[in-house]
């Protein structure tokens, strides 16, 4: 006697018709929740960690200064010398009066360079700063 194999009568396929919808939804989520990357960071740095940190609400106001572990300084999109900071930041401040300068400084940097940058920022009258730090667990 021949045995008939039991088979489910339903189609064995995953419905893919709604896949584009799902992916578009994901896409929309990413488009809304992120901002475009504007600059390439050319210095290597590791941020310090801290507990009492706050978020910067408005991303468009931020101007970045990086200080790498080799002591190079990058302002927005190119490597600069300390004495150039004042001029560039002064221009920036005229365009954007309440600019926040986010200092992304390597945690092994020395305070000397930080103080120099701060002095330049004070001369340029860009006095709202933010020491970028990651949340300590």
């Amino acid at each position: 006697m021949k045995f008939q194999k039991k088979r489910a009568s339903t189609k064995q396929e995953i419905p893919t018709a709604s896949m584009p919808d799902i992916v578009f939804m994901l896409l929309l989520f990413f488009m809304v929740s992120t901002t475009l990357r504007e600059v390439d960071v050319m210095v290597q740095f590791k941020l310090p960690e801290a507990k009492a940190i706050e978020k910067i609400e408005n991303k468009r106001l931020i101007s970045y200064i990086w200080v790498g572990n080799d002591g190079r300084i990058q302002l927005n999109d190119n490597i600069v010398q300390i004495k150039d900071i004042q001029k560039i930041m002064y221009k920036k401040r005229q365009e954007l009066p309440n600019v926040i300068v986010s200092l992304r400084i390597d945690k092994n940097a020395q305070m000397g360079i930080v103080t120099d940058i701060q002095q330049e920022l004070r001369k340029a009258d860009a006095r709202r700063i933010n020491y970028s730090a990651r949340l300590k667990e």
Partner: protein, 179 residues
């Protein structure tokens, strides 16, 4: 009569099988080209720049001042007493609390001064402690007076809180380096 066969019309369709691929491609592009990370950090407002020749010595009573000195080895002096970094918070909390009800001109000023060779990380740790002390006091004040968290306060309450416990952190004028 010859029956003319009606040509069957094909159903008009746009091929959608590749739509998912296109969407995935777009998604990938956005994943690569955008940044998600939020900017977090310790906010501060620098003092106005005064050229060294015009700097005046403003006397501040010792009672108001919390001078924080950090040297190149990472040793911390708070009002001339050596303490470790995690102790800064407790020390300051008591002092900030004692000045909540004083007028604006008598609130605590925390002055941070570092050596040129001080490690940046240590400086941030110390600043973190100072900020942490202020946040702690604010939190307690908000809980006592309104029974709310600081983030839930409305505008007038926030204003009062800022008035009662202002965060005054002064970055000391760097000493002129001899070259």
């Amino acid at each position: 009569m010859v029956k003319i066969k009606k040509r069957k019309l094909k159903e008009a369709e746009i091929p959608t099988s590749s739509m998912a691929d296109i969407a995935f491609l777009l998604l990938l592009f956005f994943l690569v080209a955008t940044v998600i990370d939020v900017d977090t950090g310790i906010g501060l407002t620098l003092p106005e720049y005064v050229p060294p020749s015009e700097q005046k010595f403003a006397p501040i009573s010792k009672d108001r001042m919390a001078a924080l000195l950090i040297n190149e080895n990472g040793d911390v002096l708070l009002n001339k007493k050596q303490i470790s970094i995690p102790q800064i918070k407790e020390n300051l909390i008591a002092r900030i609390k004692s000045k909540i009800d004083l007028p604006k001109k008598k609130k605590l000023i925390v002055s941070v001064k570092t050596d040129r060779r001080t490690n940046y990380n240590i400086y941030i740790q110390a600043l973190d402690q100072v900020k942490g002390a202020y946040f702690e006091v604010r939190k307690e004040y908000a809980l006592q007076h309104w029974g709310k968290k600081v983030s839930e306060l409305d505008k007038t309450q926030m204003h009062e809180l800022r008035d009662k416990i202002p965060i005054i952190i002064s970055i000391a004028e760097p000493e002129v380096v001899k070259k």
